[in-house]
Amino acid sequence: MFTSNHTAARRPTARKWLAATAGFAFAVTGAISSAQAQDTIKVGVLHSLSGTMAISETTLKDTVLFMIDEQNKKGGVNGKKLEAVVVDPASNWPLFAEKARELIAKNKVAVVFGCWTSVSRKSVLPVFKELNSILFYPVQYEGEESEYNVFYTGAAPNQQAIPAVDYLMSKDGGSVKRWVLAGTDYVYPRTTNKILEAYLKSKGVKQEDIMINYTPFGHSDWQTIVSDIKKFGSAGKKTAVVSTINGDANVPFYKELGNQGVKATDIPVVAFSVGEEELAGLDTKPLIGHLAAWNYFESIKSPANAEFIKKWQAFTKNPKRTTNDPMEATVIGFNMWVKAVEKVKTTDATKVIDALPGITTPNLTGGTSTMLPNHHITKPVFVGEIKGDGQFDVVWKTKGLVPGDAWTDFLPGSKDLESDWVKLKCGNYNTVTKKCGGQAS
């Protein structure tokens, strides 16, 4: 089921030479392998299985394998079985581009599911454009992007960050008046915090009531920052922390919060990168009541979710294996791709890309998600409180589904931009100058 891979050649001349040799080899060993190649549709999986990001991405690799397995049990797609091609970009951003090229050019995959960090996504973009293939990106991200070849099934800022802040400002959320925006120092937290800062100011929050703090990747000594947060929080106004702290640094952060006695009733922390998987490494009893905002929680009761969890745990042969939000995004993306391929009866990238907007598929929380013309999807937004058993208790949700907005309305550079790949055929149409190719901030 797996195809093992060697590192692709990088220089064009070397590639030509390689292609020529490969072509020759193909001609010799010919008929058998080409017949095999036509039997299956290849699906690329581009997730880090080693290095720092393996902690999060390995699960998504397993999810794609699980979905392929399920689909093949139903007879595959268009009468063909699916075949996974798994590569390991090893948390190394340039290697992502190299491996993407290998998947598309050498293995001829019809679609790629992959990437976690924004920098890895940015590094593979040129490859997908050049070779015209499809990438499904399943992680919540900072927005400010809409590419022809990419489908974003994770949350845009308006599907996670902004609803979460709205909840905290509401009476049930504690009528928060003072905000700490804490994040790891890279593009996702920086952009999200910029958007949130603009949003909070538009809601009348003053500059002195916003504290922004960045920490390096894998930061483990949180003593000073937690005590700063405590100080900032004792100014007599209800304070909350909006955390875009990256996965790995969260465990020491929460441990320090627990030890310094920062309770959720005093200063709640709402996190955008902490899910069931991250909590698995923690004793959550001191953290009860701290929050997370996602489009999916494992604890949500719906028939679709119950069935998914059952099958997933059977597939992984681990009755305790958790599920999380990026997994659901992968599932939605996968099902949308299958539907689109079945609709146009081919895996041709251009036809599938054109067919995808408008495709609907049930999500795991009981609604139906739609692929929008801007290549983002509609999703519900939930706010959950951490429970003692490492799960979340949903305390709030949006009334309906929220359509993903590629360009935020709260930053001056992007509020005039619009993405529409169906009518406008443009990812960054400027509604003021009426031109495609507007400025990304």
């Binding site: 960045y214 390096p216 000594d221 627990g258 030890n259 959720a264």
Partner: protein, 537 residues
């Protein structure tokens, strides 16, 4: 329809109560409140909690405790509330009697959110102000100070009269002052008195309370508040410095613990060991395995898990270290570049091996009870885990120093590293000493892993985060000198923590790095350079 039906039901329940239990004869505020707990609505639950707490019913305290622990169940159909006891028995919250047989099938837990937890804490504070246990009374008084719910005032006054222990009495007085300060009908003079009491408390919460006065406060009160606030701030600024020192000491001790093993393998032996971080990581995983076994087989031993893990982690990491030395490093002595690459490779192999064996996700390593929480020392908060790690580091450092100084093995180690040929000539088996020295360094890294498992992620990447810092400490302190490592680690830790509040964590780290680069330019051998011919060899 619902309303009428509810009334009938309430009536029925009330009549039932009269008939069955004369003690709870009439449908008072307590019974009304119970009904609100069955609506699965946060606002209703909040009302109910306040009503229950002030109802004076003897079931109020167990009910609120159950709500807090998620043991309160309700049936929406029958409008009944049940308290689940610790041994899983259901008690009817209306009568206090066990609910035999008549348990509805739609039982669900009454849910709480943060706002409710605040309400519950306040209610609990009021309920346990008269508890027989002094520690509990102290906690309740603190909870009331934070919630400053005006409804609790009579209870606080009553408790204040009865209280004998000065420590609790002080907090009660402060809680009373906090309530009076917030209440609208307090006279300005009383408010000023309250501010003075709160000022003497002098912590962040007091500052918050005083700063948070509404704008329409009378001028004399505002003046007192401003003066009190200035005094508290001066006091806090002083403690702030002490706190930064403590944080620096704590960070320094973590750095020292991670670097001390490297000070042996790199500092004493001269092996650039890039797999040092992975030895730390292995130590942390040993802790995880030990805790896992204890959790499943001997749950009573959990508080001793770290003590059990320490020798095992030392032995395991040391064994791995010796295996690496014997199989790879001994062929590469005197070839630093090859050693660097080979040990880097080993570190990747070890990481991936752990990833395959244990999975890529974080593993939960619990803090034993004596390592959780914190205590106040003057104006600073000292967390137990950091305090124990500082102590542990000091012990490891002293033990290592004593070992090198006073044991035969230590003597031989020093002899071999100072002059290999001469040591061999007097009959020391240098190859054996090399292996043991490397094993010792690795074993100490394993010990560090046990300690770091208490404050950091236990994941295959654990070691990577510490390798750069460890090298920085050893190079800065002076290669080949344990005291240099000590001073180096503490200097870097404290400098980092004093920079962090001004520059932020990212810039502080960069600044330290730049400082070390410049320092190395000036003093290539670090702070405490070894002198003499030995170092040139």
């Amino acid at each position: 329809m619902g309303k009428f039906h509810d009334r009938i039901l309430a009536l029925a329940v009330a009549i039932g109560l009269i008939v069955s239990a004369a003690g709870f004869a009439h449908a008072g505020p307590y019974e009304d409140a119970l009904e609100k707990l069955t609506t699965d609505d946060y606002a209703d639950t909040a009302d109910a909690v306040t009503a229950v707490a002030t109802s004076g019913n003897s079931l109020a305290a167990p009910l609120i405790a159950a709500l807090q622990d998620g043991r309160l169940q309700f049936s929406a159909k029958d409008k009944k509330v049940f308290i689940k006891t610790a041994d899983d028995k259901l008690i009817d919250a209306a009568t206090g009697k066990p609910a035999d047989g008549a348990v509805p099938d739609d039982l669900d837990t009454v849910r709480v959110n943060n706002r409710l937890r605040g309400v519950i804490d306040a209610a609990n504070g009021a309920l346990t102000l008269m508890a027989p246990d002094a520690a509990k009374r102290y906690e309740s008084a603190q909870a009331v100070f934070k919630s400053r719910d005006a409804a609790v005032l009579p209870a606080v006054e009553k408790a204040l009269e009865a209280e004998k222990i000065p420590r609790v009495k002080k907090v009660l007085t402060e809680a009373r002052a906090a309530i009076l300060l917030g209440a609208e009908d307090t006279t300005p003079a009383d408010k000023v008195a309250a501010i003075n009491i709160i000022r003497d408390r002098g912590d962040q919460d007091s500052l918050a309370l005083i700063e948070g006065l509404p704008a329409d406060t009378p001028a004399e009160v505002r003046a007192a508040a401003a003066a009190a606030s200035a005094k508290i701030q001066r006091n806090l600024a002083l403690w702030n410095t002490v706190q930064n020192l403590w944080y620096g000491l704590s960070l320094g001790s973590v750095l020292l613990l991670a670097a001390i093993g490297l000070a042996i393998t790199f500092g004493v032996m001269g092996v650039i060991n890039m797999a040092h971080g992975e030895m730390v990581m292995l130590g942390a995983y040993v802790t995880y395995v030990v805790q896992d076994v204890i959790r499943t087989s001997y749950p009573g031993l959990f508080d001793y898990s770290l003590a059990i893990a320490l020798p095992l982690a030392f032995l395991f990491s040391a064994a791995v270290g010796i295996a690496i030395e014997r199989s790879v490093i001994r062929f590469l002595y005197g070839r630093p570049l090859e050693t660097l690459l080979a040990t880097w490779g080993i570190s990747l192999v070890l990481q991936q091996a752990v990833r395959v064996a244990f999975g890529p996700t974080n593993k939960e390593v619990g803090n034993p009870s004596w390592m959780s929480g914190a205590f106040d020392l003057g104006g600073i908060l000292i967390t137990y885990n950091r305090m124990w790690i500082i102590l542990f580091t000091a012990i490891v450092f002293a033990a290592l120093l004593a070992m090198l100084r006073f044991t035969r093995l230590g003597l031989e180690m020093r002899a071999v590293t100072q002059n290999r040929q001469m040591a061999a000539a007097v009959g020391i088996r240098t190859a054996r000493i090399d292996a043991l020295t490397f094993g010792l360094g690795s074993g100490i890294a394993g010990l560090a892993g046990v300690a770091l498992s208490q404050i950091d992620n236990v994941s295959p990447n654990l070691g990577q985060g510490y390798i750069i810092d460890s090298f920085m400490v050893v190079v800065f302190g002076g290669v080949g000198n344990l005291w240099g490592t000590l001073v180096g680690a503490l200097t870097l830790g404290i400098a980092n923590k004093f920079l962090e509040p001004f520059a932020g964590a990212v810039l502080a780290k960069i600044a330290i790095l730049v400082f070390i680069i410049l320092f190395i330019q000036k003093r290539p051998r670090g702070m405490f350079a070894l002198k003499g011919r030995a170092i040139e060899a």
